[in-house]
Amino acid sequence: MDLNTKFTPKSWPDHPETATMEAKNKFVGFWLFLGGETILFATLFATYLALRNSVPSGNDFSTQTLFELPLVFVMTMLLLTSSLTSVYAMYHMKNYNFKAMQVWLAITGFLGLGFLGFEVYEFHHYISLGFTYGNSAFSSAFYTLVGTHGLHVAIGLVWLSLLILRNARRGLNLYNATKYYTFSLYWHFIDVVWVFIFTVVYLMGVVG
């Protein structure tokens, strides 16, 4: 059997993401990778928590003066929704409905792009206030934590575009089903991290 074999909705396996050996490997490997990513972000969170009140004397940037919740709320909604749209995409993937899946993924991508746009705006705004990367230990920790998440979003978007464009004419097969599936795992993971970012960085920052 060629991996590019075409299926019908009826012959499409129940779990296309783990239907072949390669797919199983990719599936398990990607989960393990996410396990490692958990620690990566934990270290960043830990550092941020240790340094979030550490500014040199005479420097009055603080979590309370800086953060604005409405913007964060909008960003949160965008990313949460994109998580749902990628669930829809996977729903269609499992039903072997390629077109619908691509459309939902495209929506996911646009929501992600919107999120990223707001984040760029937010960073730009802070920097214009003088809260630069090198401003203090707090600023370094903040930009590194939130920026690493933003970088993950950006990488996710590139990955997504490559997936959508490359497979546009080939359609769904067992070779790329896992790629779509691992992307959706990745995207949810980004959302998971964001849940902690808006809670720990922004909400707890505003509370003090």
């Binding site: 490997n25 490997g29 396990g35 550490s54 040199p56 230990a137 590194t144 490559l162």
Partner: protein, 625 residues
């Protein structure tokens, strides 16, 4: 077309052979690449060690300058841990573990190759510091206040070089994990896996969880030094203790990443050369997992003198001692494996026998240091130097040397000389104890570690001299081994499947070296020590096939891993020289673009592999008989 791949290496000239090695995704070849790379860095780190001991031979010596000495100790530690011990172990894991579980390949051949090339280029980057600017000089731990204060680009080389090599390690770890989870032959349950496979599994899990903190820590260091970050700069609110925590959250599991596979290797050796199954197999497995788990709970015992307060010190002290229990279980299980067996003292077994007392010594001094108030005296003294060399050399290096002799016939199809092997052992073993035993007392007598020189008449002169003499013996041992390897390769006497005659696990059931597809038919596993069971049952083939002979699917080689790693290597230079040279930023970007483009190329291009036909398998199998 499909048959071409495996004949390329045999028929083509130098260029094609080189190309084959640069693009290979075969785990056995990558294993050999790791051995070559790790072996090179091992010798390099050894030369650095010799220079250190030469400087400390006599008091007030000025064989090397103070600054150069700090570069030597830093590079010695970093090289030995990251670029020698780990890659050498990876070499054996790559070569042996897939065979032990009856797999044709690893889970991610491409990523496996990427892991190797990233290690290679990371190591190269780090060592180019000797020629460009300055080598890192803040110790392998690179504690933050000193590493920020260090002038020149030494620490930059450290941060970026380790970042690249560390990324490779992480990939190798994930690859091993998935290989062991998914690629086991039918019947190979978790509790039938050989101990080397088990320890590889646990060590890989440790890599998965320990390397991300290192990645983050090195990024912090990179940002602080090169991009205006303030994580560790106290004047801007930074905190140097964060580095110490992050480093040891990684660093302590790292010790187990090294020592667990070594335990695995020795477990194999004890069973083979005692002609007896491992005593208390399930306890051994449990102990391995427990050691791995506890390995994450104890990192602050490296920081007892930092001033974390008595509560933190007490908790970490007790947790540290707890690790002694599963380690003790292992030691006694090995002893009981020998007990009642039929012990044949071959070179690998000699190493295993040398390992027991050496490692016990390293283990008990570890418990002593776990006692926090006592550690206040021992910390950062030569006692520590003695302790971790007993663990790393007495445990890991002895395992690597043992595995070299044990698996050489499996990897290369020819036996290393037993006579020379034993000569190597005795030189190395005696030299090792001479070098490090007295260092315990040097530490107790007040000698701090990492000292460039010392005044005469502090009571340290004689012990230091003996210690330095021991280092020379170790060097002679290694030289004898190199001679052994050269002579053996020149002679090239071929051996059969099971050259040690008492092989127990699946790798000994197939030809030495194995064909590139490993098993013509996937084996069926009926119990622990599969090959031993089949031998006892008089099965000539060595294993029971679990499938009819059919075409085998194999992955294509790829040059992309090499290019991706090269891109990171180039980007590293750009990042480092960004501030003082105008070409820095473009080079940084170009390097990253090269990496990401080649990565995209990989994901855009279909690579479905190729099939080895049944006829060709039959031909190969007949040829190797």
């Amino acid at each position: 077309m499909t048959t071409a791949a495996n004949t390329v290496a045999q028929k083509k000239g130098f260029g094609a052979t080189l190309w084959d090695w640069l693009t290979t995704v075969d785990h056995k070849k990558i294993g050999i690449l790791y051995l070559i790379g790790g072996g090179f860095f091992f010798v390099l780190g050894g030369i650095e060690a010799l220079m250190i001991r030469l400087q400390l031979l006599v008091p007030n010596n000025d064989f090397v300058s103070a600054g150069f000495f700090n570069e030597l100790i830093t590079m010695h530690g970093t090289t030995m841990i990251f670029l020698a011990a780990m890659p050498l172990l990876f070499g054996f894991m790559n070569a042996i573990v897939p065979l032990q579980i009856g797999a044709r390949d690893v889970a991610f051949p491409f990523i496996n190759s990427l892991g190797f090339w990233m290690f290679f280029f990371g190591g190269l980057f780090l060592n180019l510091s000797w020629f460009i600017d300055a080598a890192p000089d803040a110790g392998w731990t690179s504690y933050a206040s000193l590493s920020l204060a260090s002038t020149g680009h030494g620490i930059d080389f450290y941060a970026i070089g380790l970042q690249i090599a560390g990324g490779g390690t992480l990939m190798a770890g994930i690859n091993f994990l998935v290989t062991i989870i998914n690629m086991r032959a039918p019947g190979m349950t978790y509790m039938r896996m050989p101990l080397f496979t088990w320890t590889t599994f646990v060590a890989s899990a440790l890599i998965l969880f320990a390397f991300p903190p290192l990645t983050v820590g090195l990024f912090f260091l990179t940002f602080d030094r090169m991009f205006g970050g303030n994580f560790f700069d106290v004047d801007y609110g930074g905190n140097t203790i964060i580095w110490e925590h992050i480093f040891w959250i990684f660093g302590h599991p790292e010790v187990y990443i090294l020592v667990l596979p070594s335990f695995g290797i020795f477990s194999e050796i004890f069973t083979i050369f005692s002609r007896k199954r491992l005593f208390g197999y399930s306890a051994m497995v449990f102990a391995t997992v427990l050691i791995g788990f506890l390995g994450f709970m104890v990192w602050a015992h490296h920081m007892f003198t930092v001033g974390l307060g008595p509560t933190a010190n007490a908790i970490f002290a007790v947790a540290t001692m707890a690790i002694a229990v599963p380690t003790g279980v292992k030691i006694f299980n090995w002893l009981l494996t020998m007990w009642g067996g039929s012990i044949r003292v071959t070179t690998p077994m000699l190493y295993a026998l040398g390992f027991i007392p050496s490692f016990v010594m390293g283990g008990v001094t570890g418990v002593q240091q776990g006692a926090a108030p006592l550690d206040y005296q021992l910390h950062d003294s030569y006692f520590i130097v003695a302790h971790f060399h007993y663990v790393i050399v007495g445990g890991v290096v002895l395992a690597i040397l043992a595995a070299t002799h044990l698996y050489w016939p499996k990897m290369f199809g020819t036996m290393l000389s037993e006579k020379l092997g034993k000569v190597t052992f005795w030189f190395f073993f005696i030299g090792f104890h001479m070098t490090f035993f007295l260092q315990h007392f040097l530490g107790l007598m007040g000698m701090p570690r990492r000292v460039w020189t010392y005044n005469a008449d502090q009571g340290w002169d004689l012990f230091n001299m003996i210690s330095s003499a021991g280092a020379l013996l170790m060097a002679i041992g290694v030289i004898v081994m190199v001679i052994n390897i050269i002579m053996t390769t020149a002679k090239n006497e071929r051996v059969g499947n099971d050259p040690w005659e008492d092989g127990r696990t699946l790798e000994w059931a197939i030809p030495s070296p194995p064909p590139f597809y490993n098993f013509a038919q996937t084996p069926l596993v009926r119990g622990l020590d599969t090959y031993w069971i089949e031998k006892q049952d008089g099965n000539k083939k060595g294993y029971i096939p679990a499938e009819p002979l059919s075409d085998i699917h194999m992955p294509h080689g790829s040059f992309i891993p090499f290019v991706m790693s090269l891109g990171l290597f180039i980007a590293g230079f750009g990042a480092m020289f960004r501030v003082e040279h105008s070409w820095g930023l473009p080079v940084l970007i170009a390097g990253l673009v090269l990496t990401f483009l080649s990565m995209s190329l990989r994901s855009v291009k279909d690579d479905l592999g190729f099939y080895v036909t049944k006829e060709e398998i039959l031909r190969t199998e007949r040829g190797s008989k």
